[in-house]
Protein backbone atom coordinates (compact mmCIF):
# COMPACT_ATOMS: atom_id res chain seq x y z
CA UNK A 1 0.00 0.00 0.00
CA UNK A 2 1.34 3.42 -0.97
CA UNK A 3 -1.49 5.24 0.75
CA UNK A 4 -4.89 4.33 2.11
CA UNK A 5 -6.25 4.29 -1.44
CA UNK A 6 -3.32 3.48 -3.69
CA UNK A 7 -1.75 0.04 -3.82
CA UNK A 8 0.86 -1.74 -5.83
CA UNK A 9 -0.01 -5.31 -6.75
CA UNK A 10 2.80 -6.98 -8.58
CA UNK A 11 3.61 -4.62 -11.43
CA UNK A 12 0.28 -2.81 -11.56
CA UNK A 13 -0.84 0.28 -9.70
CA UNK A 14 -4.39 0.50 -8.35
CA UNK A 15 -6.45 3.16 -6.62
CA UNK A 16 -9.62 2.66 -4.60
CA UNK A 17 -12.54 3.76 -6.75
CA UNK A 18 -14.29 6.80 -5.29
CA UNK A 19 -17.12 6.36 -7.79
CA UNK A 20 -17.88 2.66 -7.51
CA UNK A 21 -18.71 0.81 -10.70
CA UNK A 22 -17.47 3.51 -13.04
CA UNK A 23 -14.29 3.33 -15.11
CA UNK A 24 -13.17 6.82 -16.16
CA UNK A 25 -11.08 6.08 -19.24
CA UNK A 26 -11.68 2.40 -19.91
CA UNK A 27 -9.30 1.09 -17.25
CA UNK A 28 -10.02 -2.25 -15.63
CA UNK A 29 -11.80 -2.56 -12.28
CA UNK A 30 -10.99 -5.22 -9.73
CA UNK A 31 -11.92 -6.19 -6.22
CA UNK A 32 -9.29 -6.53 -3.52
CA UNK A 33 -10.84 -7.87 -0.31
CA UNK A 34 -14.29 -6.57 -1.13
CA UNK A 35 -13.19 -3.07 -2.18
CA UNK A 36 -13.22 -1.94 -5.77
CA UNK A 37 -10.01 -0.58 -7.27
CA UNK A 38 -9.29 1.04 -10.61
CA UNK A 39 -6.12 0.22 -12.49
CA UNK A 40 -3.84 3.24 -12.81
CA UNK A 41 -2.35 3.05 -16.28
CA UNK A 42 1.16 4.54 -16.13
CA UNK A 43 1.36 4.97 -19.90
CA UNK A 44 -1.67 7.28 -19.78
CA UNK A 45 -0.69 9.24 -16.67
CA UNK A 46 2.66 10.88 -16.08
CA UNK A 47 2.05 10.92 -12.36
CA UNK A 48 1.40 7.17 -12.49
CA UNK A 49 4.53 6.65 -14.58
CA UNK A 50 6.53 8.68 -12.04
CA UNK A 51 5.26 6.53 -9.17
CA UNK A 52 6.23 3.38 -11.03
CA UNK A 53 9.68 4.66 -11.97
CA UNK A 54 10.82 6.48 -8.86
CA UNK A 55 13.74 4.93 -7.00
CA UNK A 56 12.79 6.59 -3.74
CA UNK A 57 9.79 6.35 -1.46
CA UNK A 58 6.84 6.08 -3.82
CA UNK A 59 4.42 7.75 -1.43
CA UNK A 60 6.53 10.94 -1.61
CA UNK A 61 4.87 11.67 -4.95
CA UNK A 62 1.37 11.66 -3.50
CA UNK A 63 -0.12 14.58 -1.54
CA UNK A 64 -1.44 14.21 1.96
CA UNK A 65 -4.99 12.89 1.82
CA UNK A 66 -7.69 15.43 2.57
CA UNK A 67 -5.47 18.38 1.69
CA UNK A 68 -5.86 21.03 -1.00
CA UNK A 69 -3.71 20.63 -4.09
CA UNK A 70 -3.25 22.45 -7.38
CA UNK A 71 -2.97 20.67 -10.71
CA UNK A 72 -1.98 22.75 -13.74
CA UNK A 73 -2.59 21.30 -17.19
CA UNK A 74 -5.33 18.93 -16.14
CA UNK A 75 -5.89 17.30 -19.51
CA UNK A 76 -8.71 14.79 -19.83
CA UNK A 77 -8.67 13.81 -16.19
CA UNK A 78 -6.80 10.51 -16.29
CA UNK A 79 -4.29 11.36 -13.58
CA UNK A 80 -6.85 13.62 -11.91
CA UNK A 81 -9.30 10.78 -11.35
CA UNK A 82 -6.73 8.64 -9.51
CA UNK A 83 -5.46 11.61 -7.58
CA UNK A 84 -9.04 12.30 -6.57
CA UNK A 85 -9.45 8.69 -5.37
CA UNK A 86 -6.52 9.22 -3.06
CA UNK A 87 -7.17 12.80 -2.01
CA UNK A 88 -10.92 12.87 -1.49
CA UNK A 89 -12.34 9.35 -1.48
CA UNK A 90 -15.99 8.53 -2.10
CA UNK A 91 -18.29 11.56 -1.62
CA UNK A 92 -15.22 13.50 -0.52
CA UNK A 93 -15.20 11.87 2.94
CA UNK A 94 -11.70 13.17 3.48
CA UNK A 95 -12.54 16.77 2.60
CA UNK A 96 -9.84 17.18 -0.01
CA UNK A 97 -9.79 19.86 -2.70
CA UNK A 98 -8.29 19.32 -6.11
CA UNK A 99 -8.15 22.50 -8.19
CA UNK A 100 -7.57 21.45 -11.80
CA UNK A 101 -6.72 24.16 -14.33
CA UNK A 102 -6.66 23.71 -18.07
CA UNK A 103 -6.92 26.05 -21.04
CA UNK A 104 -8.66 23.79 -23.55
CA UNK A 105 -12.47 23.65 -23.53
CA UNK A 106 -12.21 20.13 -24.95
CA UNK A 107 -10.37 18.94 -21.84
CA UNK A 108 -12.68 20.80 -19.49
CA UNK A 109 -15.61 19.02 -21.10
CA UNK A 110 -14.32 15.72 -19.70
CA UNK A 111 -13.34 17.28 -16.39
CA UNK A 112 -16.70 18.91 -15.69
CA UNK A 113 -18.27 15.56 -16.41
CA UNK A 114 -15.92 13.94 -13.90
CA UNK A 115 -16.61 16.63 -11.31
CA UNK A 116 -20.32 15.79 -11.29
CA UNK A 117 -19.73 12.47 -9.54
CA UNK A 118 -16.55 13.41 -7.69
CA UNK A 119 -17.06 16.20 -5.14
CA UNK A 120 -13.83 17.93 -4.19
CA UNK A 121 -12.69 18.21 -7.80
CA UNK A 122 -12.83 21.84 -8.97
CA UNK A 123 -12.32 22.19 -12.71
CA UNK A 124 -11.17 25.64 -13.82
CA UNK A 125 -11.16 26.85 -17.40
CA UNK A 126 -8.22 29.20 -17.52
CA UNK A 127 -4.62 29.88 -18.39
CA UNK A 128 -2.07 28.35 -16.02
CA UNK A 129 -0.06 31.58 -16.28
CA UNK A 130 -2.86 33.96 -15.36
CA UNK A 131 -2.91 33.49 -11.61
CA UNK A 132 -5.12 36.48 -10.87
CA UNK A 133 -8.01 34.95 -12.84
CA UNK A 134 -8.40 31.84 -10.66
CA UNK A 135 -5.96 32.36 -7.78
CA UNK A 136 -8.79 33.56 -5.49
CA UNK A 137 -9.99 29.95 -5.39
CA UNK A 138 -6.91 29.11 -3.34
CA UNK A 139 -7.01 31.35 -0.27
CA UNK A 140 -4.08 29.49 1.28
CA UNK A 141 -0.95 28.05 -0.21
CA UNK A 142 -0.84 24.33 -0.93
CA UNK A 143 1.68 21.62 -0.07
CA UNK A 144 1.48 19.76 -3.35
CA UNK A 145 1.45 21.12 -6.88
CA UNK A 146 1.63 19.26 -10.16
CA UNK A 147 2.26 20.83 -13.54
CA UNK A 148 1.93 19.21 -16.92
CA UNK A 149 1.56 21.87 -19.59
CA UNK A 150 3.12 21.06 -22.94
CA UNK A 151 4.08 24.54 -24.04
CA UNK A 152 7.31 26.47 -24.26
CA UNK A 153 8.42 28.20 -21.08
CA UNK A 154 7.12 25.36 -18.91
CA UNK A 155 9.84 25.88 -16.35
CA UNK A 156 9.16 29.59 -15.89
CA UNK A 157 5.45 28.86 -15.55
CA UNK A 158 6.25 26.25 -12.90
CA UNK A 159 8.58 28.52 -10.92
CA UNK A 160 6.08 31.39 -10.91
CA UNK A 161 3.20 29.10 -9.95
CA UNK A 162 5.18 27.59 -7.07
CA UNK A 163 6.23 30.99 -5.76
CA UNK A 164 2.62 32.06 -5.73
CA UNK A 165 0.86 28.88 -4.59
CA UNK A 166 3.30 26.44 -2.96
CA UNK A 167 4.26 26.54 0.71
CA UNK A 168 7.93 26.48 1.60
CA UNK A 169 8.68 22.82 2.19
CA UNK A 170 5.90 21.74 -0.19
CA UNK A 171 6.37 19.30 -3.04
CA UNK A 172 6.19 20.56 -6.62
CA UNK A 173 6.10 18.09 -9.48
CA UNK A 174 7.03 19.26 -12.95
CA UNK A 175 6.46 17.05 -15.95
CA UNK A 176 8.78 18.38 -18.65
CA UNK A 177 8.29 17.60 -22.29
CA UNK A 178 11.56 18.11 -24.14
CA UNK A 179 9.89 18.70 -27.49
CA UNK A 180 8.02 21.74 -26.17
CA UNK A 181 11.16 23.71 -25.43
CA UNK A 182 13.09 25.52 -28.10
CA UNK A 183 16.37 23.82 -27.88
CA UNK A 184 18.69 23.24 -30.76
CA UNK A 185 21.77 22.39 -28.75
CA UNK A 186 23.40 19.19 -27.69
CA UNK A 187 20.43 17.04 -26.80
CA UNK A 188 17.84 16.21 -24.24
CA UNK A 189 20.13 15.29 -21.37
CA UNK A 190 21.76 18.71 -21.53
CA UNK A 191 18.34 20.35 -21.61
CA UNK A 192 17.16 18.40 -18.58
CA UNK A 193 20.40 19.31 -16.78
CA UNK A 194 19.83 23.01 -17.52
CA UNK A 195 16.29 22.82 -16.19
CA UNK A 196 17.57 21.26 -12.98
CA UNK A 197 20.08 24.11 -12.59
CA UNK A 198 17.34 26.65 -13.21
CA UNK A 199 15.14 25.08 -10.55
CA UNK A 200 17.94 25.07 -8.00
CA UNK A 201 18.76 28.72 -8.73
CA UNK A 202 15.15 29.65 -8.02
CA UNK A 203 15.01 28.08 -4.60
CA UNK A 204 14.04 24.49 -5.25
CA UNK A 205 15.74 21.32 -4.07
CA UNK A 206 15.44 18.71 -6.80
CA UNK A 207 14.72 15.51 -4.91
CA UNK A 208 14.69 13.35 -8.00
CA UNK A 209 14.39 13.61 -11.76
CA UNK A 210 12.56 10.59 -13.10
CA UNK A 211 12.92 9.66 -16.74
CA UNK A 212 9.61 8.39 -18.04
CA UNK A 213 11.08 6.66 -21.11
CA UNK A 214 9.03 3.59 -21.92
CA UNK A 215 5.83 5.10 -20.60
CA UNK A 216 6.16 8.55 -22.14
CA UNK A 217 9.18 9.24 -24.31
CA UNK A 218 11.18 12.47 -24.04
CA UNK A 219 9.57 13.31 -20.73
CA UNK A 220 11.13 13.82 -17.34
CA UNK A 221 9.26 14.24 -14.07
CA UNK A 222 11.06 16.55 -11.66
CA UNK A 223 10.25 16.02 -8.01
CA UNK A 224 11.16 19.25 -6.24
CA UNK A 225 10.81 20.70 -2.80
CA UNK A 226 10.50 24.44 -2.34
CA UNK A 227 13.20 25.50 0.09
CA UNK A 228 12.92 29.28 0.03
Amino acid sequence: MLSWAVRLEGRALWSENADVGVAVYGESLRNFGGTEYRRWDPSRSKLGAGIMRTKRDKSLLLPEEGSTVLYLGAGHGTSISHLHDHLCGADNDLGGRLVAVDLAPRCLRDLTHLAKTRPGLVPVLGDARKHSAWGVLLPRKVNWLFQDVAQSGQVEIFIKACQRFLNVGGIGLLSLKAASERWTGEGEDVLFGKVEEQLVENGFAVEESIKLTGYEDNHVLFVTRRVE
Binding site: L108, V122, P123, P139
Partner: protein, 337 residues
Protein backbone atom coordinates in the same frame (compact mmCIF):
# COMPACT_ATOMS: atom_id res chain seq x y z
CA UNK B 1 -1.31 51.38 2.92
CA UNK B 2 -2.59 48.33 1.08
CA UNK B 3 -6.03 47.32 -0.06
CA UNK B 4 -6.35 43.55 -0.17
CA UNK B 5 -9.34 41.94 -1.87
CA UNK B 6 -10.65 38.64 -3.13
CA UNK B 7 -14.09 37.60 -4.34
CA UNK B 8 -15.78 37.74 -0.91
CA UNK B 9 -14.00 40.40 1.11
CA UNK B 10 -11.71 43.41 1.08
CA UNK B 11 -9.45 44.84 3.77
CA UNK B 12 -7.09 47.74 4.27
CA UNK B 13 -3.84 47.21 6.14
CA UNK B 14 -0.66 49.16 6.72
CA UNK B 15 2.88 48.00 6.02
CA UNK B 16 3.04 46.14 9.34
CA UNK B 17 -0.03 44.09 8.43
CA UNK B 18 -2.34 45.76 10.92
CA UNK B 19 -5.85 45.79 9.53
CA UNK B 20 -7.59 49.17 9.67
CA UNK B 21 -10.86 48.38 7.99
CA UNK B 22 -12.56 45.50 6.24
CA UNK B 23 -15.73 44.66 4.35
CA UNK B 24 -17.08 41.16 3.86
CA UNK B 25 -19.71 40.00 1.38
CA UNK B 26 -21.96 37.21 2.60
CA UNK B 27 -24.19 36.81 -0.43
CA UNK B 28 -22.35 33.75 -1.69
CA UNK B 29 -25.53 31.65 -1.54
CA UNK B 30 -26.50 33.37 -4.75
CA UNK B 31 -24.47 31.46 -7.29
CA UNK B 32 -25.15 33.88 -10.12
CA UNK B 33 -23.84 36.82 -8.15
CA UNK B 34 -20.79 34.78 -7.14
CA UNK B 35 -20.03 33.83 -10.73
CA UNK B 36 -20.39 37.46 -11.73
CA UNK B 37 -17.79 38.38 -9.09
CA UNK B 38 -15.37 35.67 -10.21
CA UNK B 39 -15.69 36.88 -13.79
CA UNK B 40 -15.12 40.47 -12.67
CA UNK B 41 -11.94 39.44 -10.84
CA UNK B 42 -10.71 37.36 -13.76
CA UNK B 43 -11.02 40.46 -15.93
CA UNK B 44 -8.99 42.50 -13.44
CA UNK B 45 -11.94 44.43 -11.99
CA UNK B 46 -12.63 45.51 -8.40
CA UNK B 47 -15.45 44.07 -6.29
CA UNK B 48 -18.03 46.27 -4.55
CA UNK B 49 -16.25 45.88 -1.21
CA UNK B 50 -12.91 46.81 -2.73
CA UNK B 51 -14.43 49.91 -4.33
CA UNK B 52 -16.08 50.89 -1.05
CA UNK B 53 -12.78 50.68 0.83
CA UNK B 54 -10.97 52.36 -2.03
CA UNK B 55 -13.28 55.35 -1.57
CA UNK B 56 -12.55 55.43 2.16
CA UNK B 57 -8.79 54.97 1.74
CA UNK B 58 -7.91 56.50 -1.62
CA UNK B 59 -4.16 56.16 -1.05
CA UNK B 60 -4.32 52.41 -0.34
CA UNK B 61 -3.14 50.44 -3.33
CA UNK B 62 -5.69 47.76 -4.36
CA UNK B 63 -4.08 44.37 -4.94
CA UNK B 64 -5.67 40.98 -5.53
CA UNK B 65 -5.18 38.21 -2.97
CA UNK B 66 -1.83 36.52 -3.41
CA UNK B 67 0.02 39.49 -4.89
CA UNK B 68 3.69 39.50 -3.89
CA UNK B 69 3.68 43.12 -2.77
CA UNK B 70 1.06 42.59 -0.07
CA UNK B 71 2.38 42.41 3.49
CA UNK B 72 1.65 39.45 5.76
CA UNK B 73 -1.63 40.06 7.56
CA UNK B 74 -4.64 38.32 8.98
CA UNK B 75 -6.78 38.89 5.88
CA UNK B 76 -10.49 37.98 6.09
CA UNK B 77 -10.15 34.74 4.13
CA UNK B 78 -13.30 32.84 3.07
CA UNK B 79 -14.95 30.43 5.49
CA UNK B 80 -15.24 26.75 4.59
CA UNK B 81 -18.84 27.35 3.66
CA UNK B 82 -17.92 30.22 1.36
CA UNK B 83 -15.14 28.16 -0.15
CA UNK B 84 -17.54 25.34 -0.97
CA UNK B 85 -19.84 27.83 -2.67
CA UNK B 86 -16.86 29.14 -4.66
CA UNK B 87 -15.93 25.60 -5.74
CA UNK B 88 -19.46 25.02 -6.99
CA UNK B 89 -19.42 28.34 -8.82
CA UNK B 90 -16.04 27.57 -10.40
CA UNK B 91 -17.37 24.24 -11.66
CA UNK B 92 -20.40 25.97 -13.09
CA UNK B 93 -18.15 28.55 -14.76
CA UNK B 94 -16.11 25.77 -16.33
CA UNK B 95 -19.31 24.20 -17.61
CA UNK B 96 -20.44 27.52 -19.07
CA UNK B 97 -17.04 28.02 -20.69
CA UNK B 98 -17.24 24.60 -22.30
CA UNK B 99 -20.75 25.34 -23.56
CA UNK B 100 -19.51 28.62 -24.98
CA UNK B 101 -16.89 26.79 -27.03
CA UNK B 102 -19.69 25.27 -29.12
CA UNK B 103 -20.45 28.78 -30.33
CA UNK B 104 -16.88 29.33 -31.46
CA UNK B 105 -17.02 29.59 -35.27
CA UNK B 106 -13.31 28.69 -35.53
CA UNK B 107 -13.97 25.29 -34.00
CA UNK B 108 -17.13 24.74 -36.02
CA UNK B 109 -15.32 25.68 -39.23
CA UNK B 110 -12.52 23.26 -38.45
CA UNK B 111 -14.88 20.29 -38.07
CA UNK B 112 -16.78 21.24 -41.22
CA UNK B 113 -13.64 21.65 -43.29
CA UNK B 114 -11.98 18.45 -42.08
CA UNK B 115 -15.23 16.57 -42.63
CA UNK B 116 -15.47 17.86 -46.18
CA UNK B 117 -11.84 16.87 -46.87
CA UNK B 118 -12.50 13.35 -45.62
CA UNK B 119 -15.74 13.08 -47.54
CA UNK B 120 -14.16 14.37 -50.74
CA UNK B 121 -11.37 11.78 -50.49
CA UNK B 122 -13.94 9.01 -49.96
CA UNK B 123 -16.14 10.24 -52.76
CA UNK B 124 -13.29 10.44 -55.27
CA UNK B 125 -12.07 6.90 -54.56
CA UNK B 126 -15.62 5.58 -54.81
CA UNK B 127 -16.22 7.39 -58.07
CA UNK B 128 -12.92 6.17 -59.54
CA UNK B 129 -13.80 2.59 -58.61
CA UNK B 130 -17.24 2.96 -60.17
CA UNK B 131 -15.77 4.20 -63.46
CA UNK B 132 -13.34 1.29 -63.60
CA UNK B 133 -16.00 -1.19 -62.58
CA UNK B 134 -18.53 -0.08 -65.22
CA UNK B 135 -15.69 0.11 -67.75
CA UNK B 136 -14.93 -3.56 -67.15
CA UNK B 137 -18.41 -4.69 -68.16
CA UNK B 138 -19.02 -2.03 -70.80
CA UNK B 139 -15.60 -1.59 -72.42
CA UNK B 140 -17.01 0.57 -75.19
CA UNK B 141 -18.00 3.35 -72.80
CA UNK B 142 -15.87 6.45 -73.05
CA UNK B 143 -16.12 8.93 -70.24
CA UNK B 144 -15.11 12.37 -71.23
CA UNK B 145 -14.45 15.05 -68.70
CA UNK B 146 -17.93 14.70 -67.36
CA UNK B 147 -18.39 11.54 -65.45
CA UNK B 148 -20.40 13.15 -62.68
CA UNK B 149 -23.70 11.82 -64.02
CA UNK B 150 -22.49 8.19 -63.99
CA UNK B 151 -23.19 7.37 -60.31
CA UNK B 152 -26.78 8.51 -60.69
CA UNK B 153 -27.26 6.60 -63.92
CA UNK B 154 -25.87 3.40 -62.43
CA UNK B 155 -27.95 3.82 -59.31
CA UNK B 156 -31.15 4.26 -61.28
CA UNK B 157 -30.64 1.48 -63.85
CA UNK B 158 -32.48 -1.74 -63.06
CA UNK B 159 -30.14 -3.93 -65.11
CA UNK B 160 -26.88 -3.68 -67.01
CA UNK B 161 -28.85 -3.70 -70.27
CA UNK B 162 -30.76 -0.56 -69.26
CA UNK B 163 -27.51 1.13 -68.34
CA UNK B 164 -25.92 0.08 -71.65
CA UNK B 165 -28.78 1.50 -73.65
CA UNK B 166 -28.76 4.69 -71.63
CA UNK B 167 -25.07 5.13 -72.33
CA UNK B 168 -25.77 4.01 -75.93
CA UNK B 169 -23.25 1.18 -76.02
CA UNK B 170 -23.77 -2.50 -76.83
CA UNK B 171 -24.03 -5.23 -74.24
CA UNK B 172 -20.97 -7.33 -73.57
CA UNK B 173 -20.92 -11.09 -74.10
CA UNK B 174 -20.21 -11.77 -70.49
CA UNK B 175 -22.10 -9.74 -67.91
CA UNK B 176 -22.09 -9.66 -64.14
CA UNK B 177 -24.09 -12.16 -62.12
CA UNK B 178 -27.32 -11.00 -60.52
CA UNK B 179 -25.86 -10.44 -57.08
CA UNK B 180 -22.76 -8.79 -58.57
CA UNK B 181 -24.89 -6.33 -60.52
CA UNK B 182 -26.85 -5.56 -57.40
CA UNK B 183 -23.70 -4.56 -55.49
CA UNK B 184 -22.49 -2.51 -58.45
CA UNK B 185 -25.79 -0.64 -58.58
CA UNK B 186 -25.71 0.00 -54.86
CA UNK B 187 -22.16 1.26 -55.18
CA UNK B 188 -23.42 3.74 -57.77
CA UNK B 189 -26.26 4.77 -55.47
CA UNK B 190 -23.94 5.40 -52.52
CA UNK B 191 -21.52 7.34 -54.69
CA UNK B 192 -24.39 9.57 -55.81
CA UNK B 193 -25.54 10.18 -52.21
CA UNK B 194 -21.97 11.03 -51.23
CA UNK B 195 -21.90 13.63 -53.98
CA UNK B 196 -25.04 15.22 -52.54
CA UNK B 197 -23.69 15.13 -48.98
CA UNK B 198 -20.45 16.72 -50.09
CA UNK B 199 -22.33 19.54 -51.79
CA UNK B 200 -24.39 20.20 -48.67
CA UNK B 201 -21.28 20.13 -46.51
CA UNK B 202 -19.55 22.69 -48.71
CA UNK B 203 -22.63 24.89 -48.65
CA UNK B 204 -22.52 24.83 -44.87
CA UNK B 205 -18.86 25.89 -44.98
CA UNK B 206 -19.68 28.70 -47.40
CA UNK B 207 -22.47 29.96 -45.20
CA UNK B 208 -20.39 29.99 -42.02
CA UNK B 209 -17.30 31.34 -43.76
CA UNK B 210 -19.22 34.23 -45.31
CA UNK B 211 -20.50 35.34 -41.92
CA UNK B 212 -17.30 34.66 -39.97
CA UNK B 213 -14.81 35.91 -42.58
CA UNK B 214 -16.77 38.25 -44.87
CA UNK B 215 -13.83 40.17 -46.35
CA UNK B 216 -11.58 37.19 -46.85
CA UNK B 217 -14.49 35.26 -48.36
CA UNK B 218 -15.32 37.89 -50.93
CA UNK B 219 -11.66 38.20 -51.85
CA UNK B 220 -10.57 34.54 -52.04
CA UNK B 221 -13.86 32.68 -52.03
CA UNK B 222 -15.44 31.22 -48.88
CA UNK B 223 -13.86 27.77 -49.11
CA UNK B 224 -10.30 29.04 -49.42
CA UNK B 225 -10.97 31.63 -46.71
CA UNK B 226 -12.17 28.86 -44.41
CA UNK B 227 -9.11 26.75 -45.16
CA UNK B 228 -6.70 29.58 -44.32
CA UNK B 229 -8.55 30.26 -41.08
CA UNK B 230 -8.47 26.60 -40.01
CA UNK B 231 -4.87 26.16 -41.04
CA UNK B 232 -3.90 29.20 -38.94
CA UNK B 233 -5.83 27.76 -35.94
CA UNK B 234 -8.44 30.46 -35.78
CA UNK B 235 -9.42 33.85 -37.10
CA UNK B 236 -7.61 35.92 -34.49
CA UNK B 237 -4.41 33.98 -34.99
CA UNK B 238 -4.69 34.33 -38.79
CA UNK B 239 -5.07 38.08 -38.34
CA UNK B 240 -1.88 38.19 -36.29
CA UNK B 241 0.19 36.26 -38.81
CA UNK B 242 2.50 38.26 -41.08
CA UNK B 243 1.64 38.24 -44.79
CA UNK B 244 4.71 36.13 -45.55
CA UNK B 245 3.33 33.35 -43.38
CA UNK B 246 -0.11 33.60 -44.97
CA UNK B 247 1.62 33.22 -48.33
CA UNK B 248 3.17 29.85 -47.48
CA UNK B 249 0.41 28.58 -45.17
CA UNK B 250 -0.18 25.01 -46.29
CA UNK B 251 3.29 24.61 -47.80
CA UNK B 252 4.91 23.76 -44.47
CA UNK B 253 6.75 20.75 -45.80
CA UNK B 254 8.48 22.71 -48.56
CA UNK B 255 9.06 25.64 -46.24
CA UNK B 256 10.80 23.68 -43.51
CA UNK B 257 12.73 21.77 -46.12
CA UNK B 258 13.90 25.18 -47.33
CA UNK B 259 15.01 26.17 -43.84
CA UNK B 260 16.71 22.85 -43.25
CA UNK B 261 18.47 22.23 -46.55
CA UNK B 262 18.48 25.63 -48.24
CA UNK B 263 16.31 24.46 -51.13
CA UNK B 264 14.23 27.10 -52.92
CA UNK B 265 11.46 28.45 -50.67
CA UNK B 266 7.84 27.72 -51.64
CA UNK B 267 6.11 30.57 -53.47
CA UNK B 268 2.62 29.74 -52.30
CA UNK B 269 0.65 27.45 -50.00
CA UNK B 270 -3.11 27.08 -49.95
CA UNK B 271 -3.60 30.38 -51.79
CA UNK B 272 -2.35 28.61 -54.92
CA UNK B 273 -5.87 27.18 -55.19
CA UNK B 274 -7.13 30.60 -56.21
CA UNK B 275 -7.30 31.08 -60.00
CA UNK B 276 -5.38 34.36 -59.63
CA UNK B 277 -2.33 32.20 -59.04
CA UNK B 278 -3.12 28.80 -60.50
CA UNK B 279 -4.31 30.27 -63.81
CA UNK B 280 -1.38 32.66 -64.16
CA UNK B 281 1.85 31.88 -65.97
CA UNK B 282 4.48 30.21 -63.84
CA UNK B 283 6.91 33.13 -63.76
CA UNK B 284 4.53 35.67 -62.21
CA UNK B 285 2.97 33.33 -59.63
CA UNK B 286 5.46 34.26 -56.92
CA UNK B 287 4.89 37.98 -57.40
CA UNK B 288 1.12 37.57 -57.46
CA UNK B 289 1.25 35.30 -54.40
CA UNK B 290 3.03 38.04 -52.44
CA UNK B 291 0.41 40.63 -53.41
CA UNK B 292 -2.50 38.33 -52.61
CA UNK B 293 -1.01 37.25 -49.29
CA UNK B 294 -0.52 40.87 -48.25
CA UNK B 295 -4.10 41.73 -49.17
CA UNK B 296 -5.48 38.55 -47.59
CA UNK B 297 -3.65 39.40 -44.40
CA UNK B 298 -5.33 42.80 -44.32
CA UNK B 299 -8.71 41.22 -45.06
CA UNK B 300 -8.20 38.77 -42.18
CA UNK B 301 -7.44 41.68 -39.84
CA UNK B 302 -10.59 43.49 -40.97
CA UNK B 303 -12.61 40.34 -40.22
CA UNK B 304 -10.98 39.53 -36.90
CA UNK B 305 -11.44 43.03 -35.52
CA UNK B 306 -14.90 43.22 -37.08
CA UNK B 307 -14.35 46.23 -39.30
CA UNK B 308 -16.40 47.21 -42.31
CA UNK B 309 -16.40 44.11 -44.58
CA UNK B 310 -14.86 44.55 -48.00
CA UNK B 311 -17.08 44.97 -51.02
CA UNK B 312 -16.66 43.80 -54.59
CA UNK B 313 -15.00 47.10 -55.60
CA UNK B 314 -12.06 46.23 -53.32
CA UNK B 315 -11.71 42.87 -55.03
CA UNK B 316 -11.82 44.55 -58.45
CA UNK B 317 -8.99 46.81 -57.33
CA UNK B 318 -6.87 43.79 -56.38
CA UNK B 319 -7.79 42.13 -59.66
CA UNK B 320 -6.59 45.20 -61.59
CA UNK B 321 -3.34 45.15 -59.67
CA UNK B 322 -2.77 41.51 -60.53
CA UNK B 323 -3.49 42.18 -64.19
CA UNK B 324 -0.89 44.95 -64.15
CA UNK B 325 1.67 42.53 -62.64
CA UNK B 326 0.92 40.09 -65.44
CA UNK B 327 1.14 42.84 -68.06
CA UNK B 328 4.50 44.03 -66.71
CA UNK B 329 5.96 40.52 -66.95
CA UNK B 330 4.76 39.11 -70.25
CA UNK B 331 7.73 36.79 -70.66
CA UNK B 332 9.74 34.64 -68.25
CA UNK B 333 12.88 36.26 -67.00
CA UNK B 334 15.92 34.94 -68.83
CA UNK B 335 18.12 32.76 -66.75
CA UNK B 336 21.29 34.54 -65.78
CA UNK B 337 24.43 32.65 -66.40
Amino acid sequence: MWLWYDWQAAAVADDDGIIHDQAVWDGFFDQRALIERLHCIANGGLTQEAMLLHDRFPDAKPLIHGDEQLPEADWPLPSDEALQAADKAATEMARQGVALAAGDPDKRLEHLLRASDEMRATFLTMEARLVEWVGLFLPEVRFGKDRSSLPKQVGEADSLATLASKLSVSMPEKGPSKSEWKTLREWGESTATFRGKLDRLENAIRELSESHLPSLSIMLGPLLAARLCVEAHGRMRLARLPAGTVQVLGAEKAFFNHLKTGAAPPKHGHIFMHPWISRSPRWVRGKIARTIAAKASIAAKVDAFEGEPWSQSMVDEIDAKIESIKAANPKPKRRQR
